[in-house]
């Protein structure tokens, strides 16, 4: 293990120059986040992820946000285990009948002020499952949605952009 750790310290970082600092969108978004988030929430935003019937494709990409390439936490965004610690619910899936109650309870458990982000085609409008009798047509049918992130699944960069938008929208 010592060798692996040492290599990590001595060699060029394995990570690519993390998410391309030269990418103008990311730079702007990062700056926007700093200004807006600081005003509203200091430097951090706690996210509680809720799978409300996803195929788990969206979860895979949300997971990827934590890897060394995207490193979500350097933006002050982090995932928390309890809705009671959350500022944002990040919801995926078309909201199945069987998850509706759990989603409502999770929302109720999060303290105000709180925001809801619907991530992925399913969460936005039901996606391929929109016509199912076992689903509602997206998160909007159950909770007030502040931001929608399109894509099936949205890429980590899409997710990052979407989450940062939240700060721009708020006064």
């Amino acid at each position: 293990m010592r060798k692996t750790l040492l290599q990590g310290l001595l060699h060029r970082p394995l990570t690519e120059p993390p998410p391309r600092i030269d990418d103008p969108t990311v730079v702007t978004l990062a700056r926007e986040l700093d200004a807006a988030a600081q005003k509203k929430l200091g430097r951090s935003l706690a996210i509680r992820e809720v799978d409300a019937g996803s195929c788990n494709g969206c979860e895979l990409e949300i997971h990827a946000l934590g890897n060394a390439f995207y490193d979500l936490e350097r933006f002050g965004l982090r995932f928390v285990a309890s809705p009671r610690h959350a500022d944002v619910l990040l919801v995926t899936g078309p909201v199945t009948r069987n998850m509706r109650e759990a989603l409502l309870r999770t929302y109720a458990a999060a303290p105000a002020p709180k925001w809801v982000v619907a991530a992925g085609a399913c969460a936005c409008d039901g996606g391929e499952f929109a016509t199912s009798a076992h689903c509602t047509a997206g998160v909007g049918a159950v909770l007030p949605v502040d931001v929608t992130i399109a894509g099936c699944p949205p890429t980590p960069l899409d997710l990052l952009r979407g989450l940062l938008t939240l700060f721009v929208q708020r006064p």
Partner: protein
């Protein structure tokens, strides 16, 4: 083997393995693996009743409960009368199995879990730290896939199939496509068949890398997770370069593939294989040489061979417990009959064995992709799918195990489609494997099984 009784007898005596049991409005279907062949049997049951298989062969219990929820078919004699996928109007009212005994306490977990994972409920009954019984309750992600499939045009149905279970989208799309091709006597072009296998192996590597990292992370060893996640990300980026989608969704369609390998695809993949070949072995050494990690994974969550066989556990769950089965080999499908690969099998059945099967499979998949790149045939990508009505069944080895798709087509549409995730037979085994372990080891055991909720709940 044509009669119900005969099939039941063979399942009970262990000479056949249950591949699936499913319903439609007035019929019940069985698929079994018998002497290396997949046997499909359909039985009419006009009065909506059939003799329960689950009563004698427990692996069928949840499938029978699901068929009852979905089609009202009554498995006569099944002792468990509780619903499974249909949670009804009062989702919180579910009678868990009663437990009696001194000093026992219960821990309810879920459906919303602490991490970024899918929803399901676990009810632990514990004596101090030790789990006496785990009971699972699933169905939270039931989206009504089979109902949506009925009457769907092939194109829509293929998209749905690819979204039953996102981490195995390639395996599902492939199983669906092969079932359609069998039903319509369509022969996909060779290049498509090989590209499909390349995608399937990329998917396997990506998921195994994610799992190995996540299992170590659940043993509080996040260094492995960080490195595995980097490798996984490289795989997904290569997939996006090659097939224009990180998870390769909708790339496989009935009749062939929707996209060719990108012009720089072969080069990208070779670079990726090189990366995995050089970066992964040091991580494997790290895993193997870290005593604190081994202390958590060795001997934890043991699944006995006998149970793995009886339940026909697929994938790393079965192969880590001595069940030597891989759908790429038995019954087998192209192009794997033209490729060389090993199917690693271990017998310890613990978390460590499930990690090692994944590690070895990553190496095998890397080699497979290399072989395929060297011999990739040229030519067409897709042929038109025949319009005749018919039935088709396909078994595909996804990263998690064998995915089964059965369907019946008429007038160019899906009349009925059933998809069975390997998790159906792995979830119940998790309940068995955790018994006698401490609660704190559950995340580790659970992750080492990594059963699918979406694939199971449909």
């Amino acid at each position: 083997m044509t009669s119900w009784d005969d099939a039941v007898a063979r399942l009970v005596d262990g000479s056949a393995t249950l591949l699936s049991l499913w319903g439609e409005r007035e019929a019940v279907h069985l698929a079994l693996l018998h002497e290396g062949e997949v046997v499909h049997l359909g039985f009419a049951c006009r009065d909506g009743r059939y003799p329960s298989l689950g009563r004698e062969h427990p692996p069928a219990i949840r499938l029978e409960r699901a068929a009852r929820d979905l089609y009202g078919l009554d498995p006569v004699g099944l002792p468990d009368s509780r619903p499974w996928l249909d949670h009804g109007p009062e989702p919180t009212a579910y009678p868990f199995l009663p437990v009696e005994g001194e000093h026992l306490h219960q821990i309810p977990v879920g459906p919303v879990h602490a991490g970024i994972i899918e929803p399901g409920h676990f009810r632990f009954t514990c004596d101090g730290e030790t789990v006496v019984r785990l009971e699972e309750r699933l169905g939270y992600v039931h989206r009504g896939v089979e109902a949506l499939m009925q009457g769907a045009a092939l194109e829509k149905a293929a998209r749905l199939a690819g979204r039953i279970n996102g981490d195995s989208t390639v395996a599902y799309a492939l199983a669906f496509a092969r079932a359609v091709e069998q039903a319509t006597a369509t022969v996909p072009p060779p290049r498509a068949v090989w590209l499909r296998a390349v995608m399937a192996e990329i998917e396997r590597i990506a998921n195994h890398l994610g799992d190995v990292g996540a299992i170590c992370n659940d043993a509080a060893f996040s260094l492995m997770q960080a490195h595995c996640a980097i490798l996984r990300e490289r795989v997904l980026r290569a997939a996006a370069t090659c097939f224009r989608h990180r998870l390769m969704m909708d790339a496989i369609v009935p009749g062939g593939v929707a996209r060719d390998l990108a012009p720089d695809g072969a080069e990208t993949l070779r670079a990726l294989l090189h990366e995995v070949r050089t970066r992964f072995p040091p991580l494997v050494n790290l895993y193997d040489a870290t005593a604190s990690l081994q202390d958590r994974t060795v001997g934890t969550g043991v699944l006995r061979t006998e149970l793995a066989r009886r339940f026909g556990a697929g994938g790393f769950v079965g192969r880590a417990s001595g069940r030597d089965f891989d759908a790429r080999r038995t019954p087998g499908y192209a192009p794997y009959d033209m490729l060389t690969f090993d199917v690693p099998v271990l017998s310890e059945g613990d978390v460590n064995a499930r990690v090692w099967v994944r590690i070895k499979e990553i190496t095998q998949s890397v080699n497979l992709i290399g072989q395929m790149l060297d011999r990739m045939p040229d030519g067409e990508l897709r042929v038109a799918v025949g319009a005749q009505p018919g039935e088709g069944l396909a078994l595909v080895e996804g990263f998690r195990g064998d995915v089964l798709v059965w369907l019946r087509l008429a007038e160019g549409r899906v009349q009925h489609c059933h998809a069975r995730d390997p998790s159906w037979f792995q979830w119940p085994l998790l309940e068995a494997a955790i018994e006698g372990n401490i609660v704190a080891d559950f995340p580790l055991c659970n992750k080492s099984f990594n059963c699918s909720y979406a694939g199971h709940d449909l």
